[in-house]
Symmetry: C2
């Protein structure tokens, strides 16, 4: 039963992202695992190649950004918060060429101080920043690490 519910969650957010961020569809960005605390996406190399035949730096970043955004959107929908989620800044390190189809992974750690602050602020309907790290993996190697400073903007 849990697996069926999870599949529905994946389909819901895949539909949301595909229909509102068409670039993700072009990139063949697909959610394969999702709950409010973790996400995994798979991305095809072919639409994302560069002149070296590996993944374009911009595609790697965009795939990881969409992955991080989707996890936080799923999390705050699950918590029932009302907020607009935007990226304020981000840094990426490219560690290895991405020479095939690749994976993006992120998780929310409720034991971190940043998480405690976030839930406290959103509980008061106040805006708050939140840093999220997304790993980009190909052939079982971490090829890039994206750190995003998200902001949950509350209307009050």
């Amino acid at each position: 039963m849990a697996a069926v519910e999870n599949l529905a969650l994946i389909e819901k957010y895949q539909r949301t992202v595909t229909s509102t961020i068409p670039l993700t569809d072009y990139m063949q960005w697909r959610i394969v695992r999702l709950d409010p605390w973790q996400i995994q996406t798979n991305i095809d190399l072919l639409p994302n190649i560069n002149i070296h035949g590996t993944a374009f730096a911009g595609s790697i970043y965009a795939s990881a950004m969409a992955t991080g955004w989707t996890l936080l959107k799923c999390w705050y929908d699950f918590q029932g918060y009302q907020a607009e989620l935007v990226a304020a800044e981000a840094s990426i390190r490219y560690l290895q060429p991405v020479a095939g189809d690749f994976v993006c992974r992120a998780l929310i750690d409720p034991n971190q101080a940043s998480y405690e602050k976030l839930t406290k602020r959103l509980g008061m309907n106040k805006s708050c920043g939140y840093p999220l790290t997304v790993e980009v993996i190909c052939a079982e190697k971490i090829c890039a690490i994206l750190t995003i400073s998200f902001v949950f903007k509350c209307s009050s």
Copy 2:
């Protein structure tokens, strides 16, 4: 005559980028100004929208990355250096939402110490890092600033 040569240069690099990084074609990323020292590209909002109806953070980054890469590739082809150009890391700050078609701009400043170091190292056929800043502009406002640490990799 200079304008005609410049158009040929634009067409040459547009063709190179479009054919080797297909994502740029999907994004409607177009070079409108290029010489070995500066570049301007125009990007359509429509294929790059997000859930807010503004440009997706990943598209903004990818457009700016392609712009920076193309300028440095044009520069080193012009100088006659043999090197492979890759991005090692990058940071982006999102200052304003991008609510329409947008522009990316970058230039190489030969008066900077980083430029002097680069030409010296490449002249010895040695690898070298080079930082490049790309501005993302919409409706005459700077909406994002991307700073890329490129590496020119020489085979020796």
